[in-house]
Symmetry: C2
Subunit: 358 residues, 2 copies
Amino acid sequence: MAEPLAPGATIGILGGGQLGRMLAVAAARLGLKAHIFEPGADCPAAQVAHRTTTAPYEDAAALTAFARAVAVVTYEFENVPTAALDLIEAHVPIRPNRRALAISQDRLSEKRFLQDLGLTTAPFAAVDGLDDLQAGLDAIGTPAILKTRRFGYDGKGQVHLATAAEPATALAGLDGAPAILEGVVGFTREASVIAARGLDGQVAAFDPGENEHRQGILRTTTVPARLTKPQATDAVLLAGKILNALDYVGVIGVELFVTAQGLVVNEFAPRVHNSGHWTQNGCAVDQFEQHIRAIAGWPLGDGARHSDVTMENLIGDDIDRVPDLARAPDTALHLYGKAETRAGRKMGHVNRILGPAR
Amino acid sequence: MAEPLAPGATIGILGGGQLGRMLAVAAARLGLKAHIFEPGADCPAAQVAHRTTTAPYEDAAALTAFARAVAVVTYEFENVPTAALDLIEAHVPIRPNRRALAISQDRLSEKRFLQDLGLTTAPFAAVDGLDDLQAGLDAIGTPAILKTRRFGYDGKGQVHLATAAEPATALAGLDGAPAILEGVVGFTREASVIAARGLDGQVAAFDPGENEHRQGILRTTTVPARLTKPQATDAVLLAGKILNALDYVGVIGVELFVTAQGLVVNEFAPRVHNSGHWTQNGCAVDQFEQHIRAIAGWPLGDGARHSDVTMENLIGDDIDRVPDLARAPDTALHLYGKAETRAGRKMGHVNRILGPAR
């Protein structure tokens, strides 16, 4: 195993949104510096990072200079172009590794990977055309969801099929992109596990959170989730199974459906995850620091929770509630420094401390 | 009252050490930007601040440009040159105000101010020469401490007098600087209160912490302090008295001696204070955010504590303990990103979460 990064070393982060921003702050807390690579100007992470490179992912010279200036590279989003990763990896390790990224970038690979691990997923079928879709609908039934295999997030790139009628229309909605048909899973609640694996293979998980989505976007996460003890144990174990199978280093977010038949894995994100923001006010070591610890080769925090927390996202005009939220007791504000408010845009979040951990 | 600063506004901070660094991070959490003014290169705060001006306090052009680029100016240390403050105040408010700064810069003014408020201090006498010192020793007795009126911190600029012999030698140790003789207060423990006052006059205090010093430097703060209920109430009330008397805006740190006769005020710092670092892992709103809220005209947090905490400073070679501390449960690391370790230098601190607030 490589030596842990010494204080003063620089972490490279691809992406300068709110996740990159909170990763940069966590790195600083450990005496490490953050260098952001982000195509967009005035990104949230630049406000707290030691250095920022503003360049497109196609700028080979900028990417190379970035890779040479940092000790390790991580990312805040899944859709980093492959060519950019190739350039970076010639100079410096990428953590979590390329395989984790490649699998999670493609819903079909992800489902197959999970299935091969013996984990339960929604029924699914690859869809490369109308014939596939028809066959998938015959096998899976409706309701079902047709999703692009790549580049979907927050409910984008998805078509709901309440019935098997008009499959061609559904397919047209995806502009011919390679797709996957997924059966809709009936669930009692949605949960997620934020877990981490260190460079030495150590695994640590935070307690599962219970998620509430609205229009495909996460609204709240509450910890602890209302799970039975076996369900909570299963959630943590399956996250560990995924981490080990991928020889993963860093934090992963695994989204779950809780059903009468057990836990169904919806998807995983090879990065810090919105449903783990509660850890900032519930744990001594939060998910951002946990990720930095892992990719820097440091020991992981144990994931212990001191307080129960509800995290609520501030989306679009929710930002207008900040003056009231600033007055609320036991409430921690986390705003992202985004200059422009847009509908559906994540502007910040609040963590409400509910009381000592139960 | 002025409008609260809107997200995106910039806070100017004089001083780029660890306090400036943690203030910058707190500002970012509220969606505000931090602009550091610091003479030294590669300062800790620059690693997390939106902008940094590296210039001496005598550089009028740099100070003016800085003042014009920010919405309000605060400071992380007491000894900002007066001329620099004059230049800044021509353009932008300074919070906490000049009077608070002037009083706390001078141990004699500070003691007289506290005495005028009816608060108990150590017995003291102004010392401008040998005659004053002799008269002071006659009145106060020994043991006593001869301190420079200005520019002392962490035990520097102080001479302990165990007996009244050789006063000339003691005075020579201060190089002729204006001084104050203070009687030594017998105390059972040392405590401090971190309190804040908003732009609207609202006052909020964190629970008092119990401090342990070694060689004049703070080693640990533990919350709650072992105080009687009346003592804890007195501590908070006297902090409020000081804040109101100064028409103060921001966080103040008030150091106290706990004696059989009641609380004796040692000194106050018109800024966030080392003995308030525990709030980072004990409260939803920590002292750094509380200070930013106050100077930005935002509502204050209520100071409520969710967990009991012991803060321990990492001084000099203590930094070598980081690999072990990173493995310790319920322990939050806060490192300052200082490139060089020196004896007596504050390199970071750890907050140990002891359990739910009692």
